[in-house]
Amino acid sequence: MSVTTKDAVIASGPSRLSLFWMSTVGKKVLMALSGIILFAYVVAHMLGNMQLYLGIELINGYARLLHLNQGFLWSARIVLLVAVGVHAIAGIELWINKREARPIPYRSKENIQATTASRTMILTGVIIAAFIVYHVLDLTVGVAHAGPYVHLEAAGNLITGFSHPLPVVLYIVAMIALGFHLWHGVYSMFGSLGLSHPRYTVGVKRLAALAATLIALGNISFPVAVLTGLVHG
């Protein structure tokens, strides 16, 4: 007599997992999950580099420590690479999708409460991606290094690199972009995963802004420290 609606509508089709990837919500969940990994890495990376202020030997030792176990190193690199890949692919697909979702733009569009950070995620994301490539070539592989590159001499490479203006400018621009990206990204990460409650929203927003600012400033402090001679070889 009556037909069960669900069966009639989606009698056959892709699996839940592929639907998850195909949907805008699923992609955002994956961006949030990969975002958590990347955020944790960014925090750890900065804290590690903070050892610069505790003495050159300490940070070089830390660099050697990370390379001690190649299995661990490459596992971490693969996890990070996958996270970046998922984050970027999902982000770019969503961006393409949203451009198609509004083929004719408004003549004028008022912006009511969206933050600058939230409206420039794709831009800051692309800047960060480009910077990561440059950063790896500069300080991990060494081929794009401005000065003489010495493997595992973390502090030395940093100091020789930041003695040149271009790397400093690129680095600072990228860290400002990272700050903006995290400012909105950390907040919306909670939302995308559904970890949200009106009572905590304001707190999460503030926390995200604080974390983003600290990370940007903390990272920017390195070239500044080199340029001001606070850290020297």
């Binding site: 007599m1 009556s2 037909v3 609606t5 009639a8 509508v9």
Partner: protein
């Protein structure tokens, strides 16, 4: 023509069971062989289409809006009555029945009203199961409020958006059936004619409002749930596009139009501000639970409202009706407001307004409580008028709101045309001469969920419906007539716009056949309307073409029907030499200005038959027989 209301025998309490027990049934596996056309997607139409789909019938559902969710039931604010007696205040099916009959000034059919009260409890169950977010007590049970014209608390509500939430419930049930393919939804399609084959309602002709295409649809039964005709007054609380065309076209095809003069004027609307005004905004009459209505005692009061002392204010409803006070029924409250304004005591621009004052309630309960109860209404009022009702009293004035009249139907909600069913505000059946608050939603859903799906089945099972398709001459003729009519509207190429005529018609109806009517005023209207109608067809200016999205053409066609309906409205009002409910004839009133019924001569339903253009309509009478109750003078003192 003898009108057979087909009311089942037996005691009043058993009539509906009796009817259900002896209905002919369509075998479950045969239901898919029948197609039912439902016009309208409001509470009655949406609920009926969904329920018929659930039963397994094929349903074709039409609405002029871009989505079925926008039907005007959505605008109802206050609530829906249900005889649940959750408050332990002595409510019962009988009491709801009696209140409704009495509220309707003893001009409704007893058996229909009893059934309405009976199924009211099922409606609440149904809607709660659908997830309608009714107001709740802290313990999780349903909450109630009291509403105009009732002395028990039986009104269920979803904040100030009860109509919206009930409609969304029906709409969701409907969309579930659309997804199964059981219901085919045609939005932005307007019904322009009813098609009869062998005397039975078999189909409709519609205009696709996006493309202008004229199209025919055939079914085994046709159901009109297309709302009321208050927009004949031009300014009303109805949506801009609400119209009478579906039922008027059916009337011209033979369906009788019952009690057109029973129109309801709602007391709590925001007054008109200028002649560009496109509609009047209603504010829920639940405001009258806490607001006090008054006017200054002396004419030409110049003091600002907050400086008029208590002793110079006339809380006239509390004075005249001490037991109901500000909660007196709609017709009574509206008329009293009109009297005050006629006496020159009205407030605001043009003296067309009375105060609805919350200052005392705010003092007693605090602004927060008032904000929680009526916050959205207060906001709306401030947006429209620019005045803050927390600080200055609201100004209100009555406006045309609901029409109790409609197509004549029997107990099964079938018109005198076999196979033509009519539900909700479009029929005449349940509210008599005046509708009580929170009863429109109840009637729409009662018809849609619990009456029509069964009675249609009985009609279909009774047989006699021959096979046919839309190539039948009756369809072709109807299509041709519509095209001629639209061409005529487009071809007049005169000087005046549709709106200018509509406003003029509305003004005639409001002035001569509004809150108070007299023999003279009605005769004036009956002279003026035909003249204006003649001019309309000759001097109308409608731009664009018929094969296009053309909103002016849609309107022109609707207004053409309002002209004819307006005439019938006045003719009916003139014929009914008594006052009852929303029909108030100044000649027939008690010394203190209350409606004076004439039960000896007018206790009947006036069902009018169409006899052709410029012909006098033919009156058929269905006597109202009361088995259970005694006719009484309606008093709210």
């Amino acid at each position: 023509m003898a009108l057979d209301s087909r009311i089942p025998g037996g005691p009043l309490e058993n009539k509906w069971s009796e009817r259900k027990d002896h209905m002919k049934m369509v075998n479950p596996s045969n239901k898919r062989k029948y197609t039912v056309i439902v016009v309208g997607t409001g509470l009655a139409g949406g609920a009926a289409a969904a329920s018929l789909g659930e039963l397994g019938y094929n349903v074709l559902n039409f609405c002029y809006q871009d989505s079925p969710r926008r039907a005007h039931s959505i605008a109802a604010q206050g609530g829906i009555n249900g005889a649940k007696n959750y408050q332990n205040d002595g409510d019962s099916v009988y009491r709801l029945f009696y209140d409704t009959i009495k509220g309707g000034d003893f001009r409704a059919r007893e058996a229909n009203v009893y059934r309405l009260a009976e199924v009211s409890v099922n409606i609440i169950d149904q809607c709660a199961a659908q997830g309608v977010p009714f107001g709740r007590e802290y313990g999780g049970t349903l909450a109630n409020r009291s509403f105009g014209g009732a002395q028990v608390s039986r009104t269920f509500y979803a904040r100030g958006q009860t109509g919206q939430q009930l409609l969304l419930g029906a709409y969701q049930a409907l969309e579930r059936q659309v997804a199964t393919g059981q219901v085919k939804m045609y939005s932005r399609h307007e019904m322009l004619d009813l098609v009869l084959i062998d005397g039975r309602a078999r189909g409709i002709v519609v205009r696709n409002l996006e493309t202008g295409k004229i199209q025919s649809f055939i079914g085994d039964a046709v159901m009109l749930c297309t709302g009321g005709y208050a927009n004949a007054f031009y300014l009303s609380t109805n949506a801009k596009n609400c119209n009478t065309s579906a039922i008027w076209r059916a009337h011209r095809r033979g369906a009788l139009f019952a009690n057109p003069c029973y129109t309801q004027i709602h007391p709590t609307c925001i007054p008109k501000s200028g002649d560009y005004q496109s509609k009047l905004t209603l504010m829920s009459e639940s405001l009258r639970n806490d607001g006090r209505i008054w006017v200054p005692k002396k004419k030409g009061e110049q003091r600002p409202v907050d400086q008029i002392p208590e002793e110079d204010r006339d809380y006239y409803l509390e004075r005249i009706y001490p037991s109901y006070g500000n909660l007196a029924p709609r017709d009574v409250s509206s008329r009293q407001a009109k009297y005050r304004c006629d006496e020159g005591l009205g407030v605001g621009p043009g003296g067309l307004g009375v105060y609805l004052d919350f200052s005392e309630a705010i003092k007693r309960l605090g602004q927060n409580v008032i904000a929680e109860r009526y916050g959205n209404l207060f906001e709306m009022y401030e947006r429209i008028t620019g005045e803050n009702p927390y600080q200055v009293p609201m100004r209100i004035y009555p406006a045309a709101h609901y029409t109790m009249g409609g197509l004549w139907v029997d107990y099964d909600l079938m018109s005198n045309v076999p196979g033509l069913f009519v539900g909700g505000e479009a029929n005449f059946s349940d509210h008599g001469a005046n509708r009580l608050g929170a009863s429109a939603l109840m009637q729409g859903l009662a018809d849609g969920y619990f009456v029509l799906p069964l009675t249609v089945g009985d009609y279909l099972a009774s047989g006699g419906i021959k096979k046919a398709d839309t190539s039948h001459a009756a369809f072709k003729d109807a299509e041709r007539e519509i095209n001629t009519r639209l061409d005529k509207l487009l071809g007049a190429k005169g000087k005046r716009t549709v709106d200018s005529y509509w406003r003029e018609l509305g003004t005639i109806l409001w002035d001569e056949c509004g809150m108070a009517r007299s023999k003279e005023s009605l005769q004036r209207a009956l002279t003026k309307i035909p003249v204006l109608r003649e001019e309309y067809w000759k001097n109308l200016k409608v731009p664009g073409s018929g094969n296009d999205f053309n909103q002016e053409l849609e309107k022109a066609n609707r207004v053409a029907d309002f002209f004819e309906l307006g005439e019938l409205l006045c003719a009916d009002a003139l014929d009914r030499n008594e006052s009852c409910g929303g029909h108030f004839r100044t000649e027939y009133q008690t010394p203190d200005g209350e409606a004076k019924r004439n039960d000896a001569e007018y206790a009947y339903v006036a069902a009018w038959g169409w006899k052709g253009e410029n012909q006098k309509p033919e009156l058929h009478k269905e006597p109202l027989v009361y088995e259970k109750i005694q006719l009484a003078t309606r008093s709210y003192k």
